[in-house]
Symmetry: C2
Subunit: 263 residues, 2 copies
Amino acid sequence: MTPFSVRSPRVVAARKLQRRRARDQAGLFLVEGPQAVREAGGHVVELFGTAEALEAHRDVVRAAGTAPRYTVTDAALESLAETVRPQGLVAVCRALDVTVKEALARRPRLAAVLCEIRDPGNAGTVLRTADAAGAGAVVFAGDAVDPYNGKAVRASAGSLFHVDVVRDPDPLAVVSAFRDTGYTVLAADGYGPVALPDAPLAGPTVWLFGSEAHGLPPELGSAADHRVRVPLYGRAESLNLAAAAAVCLYASATEQRSRREVL
Amino acid sequence: MTPFSVRSPRVVAARKLQRRRARDQAGLFLVEGPQAVREAGGHVVELFGTAEALEAHRDVVRAAGTAPRYTVTDAALESLAETVRPQGLVAVCRALDVTVKEALARRPRLAAVLCEIRDPGNAGTVLRTADAAGAGAVVFAGDAVDPYNGKAVRASAGSLFHVDVVRDPDPLAVVSAFRDTGYTVLAADGYGPVALPDAPLAGPTVWLFGSEAHGLPPELGSAADHRVRVPLYGRAESLNLAAAAAVCLYASATEQRSRREVL
């Protein structure tokens, strides 16, 4: 069979998913590269690959299950990919976000809310770090970046498929839902009155993170139980978002585990 | 006086510093934006600004001391800057790195060695995080990115001027120098046998970080007292470099401080 070209209708349709509006309408998004496609597994609904890549990554093709697979030309593959080296595979995946209620029903010990974070690289990195720290849910709240944005997907390094991802336009409603379920709500805030080593970290905790440019909206700081700062021991004026989130989330993870061992 | 244009010899000479070779030859580098120029302070040897910016940021001009300042056209300023919004100021600064010996003479309790890290954004971010965690020295070791690369300078957010920055082509010699001075040498390694919470963190410590792409060269892992992994509590396969460095450096900072309070 002739490989699909850049202008084949299926390729054209998939390529449209590079735009947010098309993703939202279809409830679909793109992932690229063998590693990410392997992680996507059962979420794959269509797999595009060069003949060479489909042959080289049979395990990945198997992980995509019964999803139809299409052999495409190098040019068609490149047109679907957003990176310089897509390594021959791009998959269309089903959106996998759940509601806050669904995420809370699984009672994660640790969760993170990204409030109005616009930078896809930052958002994806924090998602990856939250997963590493054992968080069970990550909420993209307010006017935040689309978690299915190509750059966010790549920065998440597969973690998009590991944790419950929630999209919710109303950060305050998200905070209320966590609070009503018994969570300690901690707002990461460089100027917060509580230093991280003094924060109550042992119980079920949700962290709120704002954008590096604008910080956390004041009403969200007020809605938290504590506004917590990562101490600055040197002369840096602040930490970047990804570093601050890593320090906060790992402080929680470590404390939660040391307490559980004692109990 | 007419503002200097894009082709004025001083502007041309300064603009050459966007290239590493010119920086190395001259022992000079560029910083841009009022915040960074303020931090640079006494390291500034020439200050370029639009008439508007020089007027608006008089405190920054003062911080640059006796360094000559030149009014330039908008186009000349843009040609010197690497960002889209340089905010009207670019300074030529004197290289400020010191030798390992000089850095060790100040006995920092905490230090970081970036081994063969090529990505300027990553390197600058780790420098900023190390400063925030109270590290006194950061070594760019081996075939690492130039700390005076524009993107590294910007990612460091001023921390380049806060800590002792060392450039050394020989990472093993750097490790030996720290070890001979009594430091615990910890290699950050996702597959290390020691989990971070079990690592000895209380004493004077130097952390070794490798690139995200290639990790730490094996001979450096072997040269360390311990190879330490940040535990992965969820399903993420790894942390990115900046997040791992933040978690490791803050674990040290926190432990060193809690011990000192006890003693």
